[in-house]
Amino acid sequence: MTNRIRELRARDNLTQSDLARRVGVRRETIVFLEQNKYNPSLKLAYDIAKVFGMKIEEVFEVEG
């Protein structure tokens, strides 16, 4: 699974800590997500998409 979190975070001028605080996770989780090393739960994916005002499929993409 790939995502556009880093790009969208830069667009909205959010730090990793800001995003982590807004979706209620540790900063480390955002780091792992941006490196495509962690597949989030549906709820977390939904919360992240909501922060950016987008749909889940616009933020996350399933490969293959």
């Binding site: 996770v25 480390e28 739960s41």
Partner: protein, 132 residues
């Protein structure tokens, strides 16, 4: 925050009790005791490391636990369980070869589980490439 404080208290009490034992110990240290010191350093160091992470997150007003950290804990625990099955065979084998006392074997088993958990957690956090 409470868990982090508990981890620090546990680590400090281990250091204090170990130091007490070390100060009042008269004879030379044997291999078993040196191994125990190494294991203790690893376990105490790991618990202080986890406590530090939690305190750092608390300071930044971030949650100290989330779905990924809980997943890492679960994976570390399950790895420790599998390793403990192998350890059990090892201890069973060793019990025939040596004259270890019961409390020493139980202590070694518990310490082994703690080390297996620490190593399992480190593997899943730092070495494995993906986390589902």
């Amino acid at each position: 925050m409470r868990k982090a404080i508990f981890m620090v208290v546990l680590a400090v009490s281990l250091i204090v009790s170990f130091s007490y034992w070390l100060i009042f110990k008269n004879d030379q240290m044997n291999t078993q005791e040196i191994l125990m010191i190494g294991a203790l350093v690893l376990v105490v160091g790991f618990s202080l490391f986890l406590a530090f992470r939690r305190l750092r997150d608390a300071k930044e007003n971030l949650p100290q636990e989330d779905e990924m950290s809980k997943g890492l804990m679960r994976r570390g625990t399950s790895t420790a369980y599998y390793i403990s099955l192998i350890m059990w065979l090892g201890v069973d084998y060793m019990s025939d070869k040596t004259k270890l006392e019961c409390h020493s074997l139980i202590g070694a088993g518990i310490m082994g589980m703690a080390i297996a958990f620490a190593l399992g957690w480190i593997y899943h956090r730092y070495i494995r490439r993906t986390h589902d």
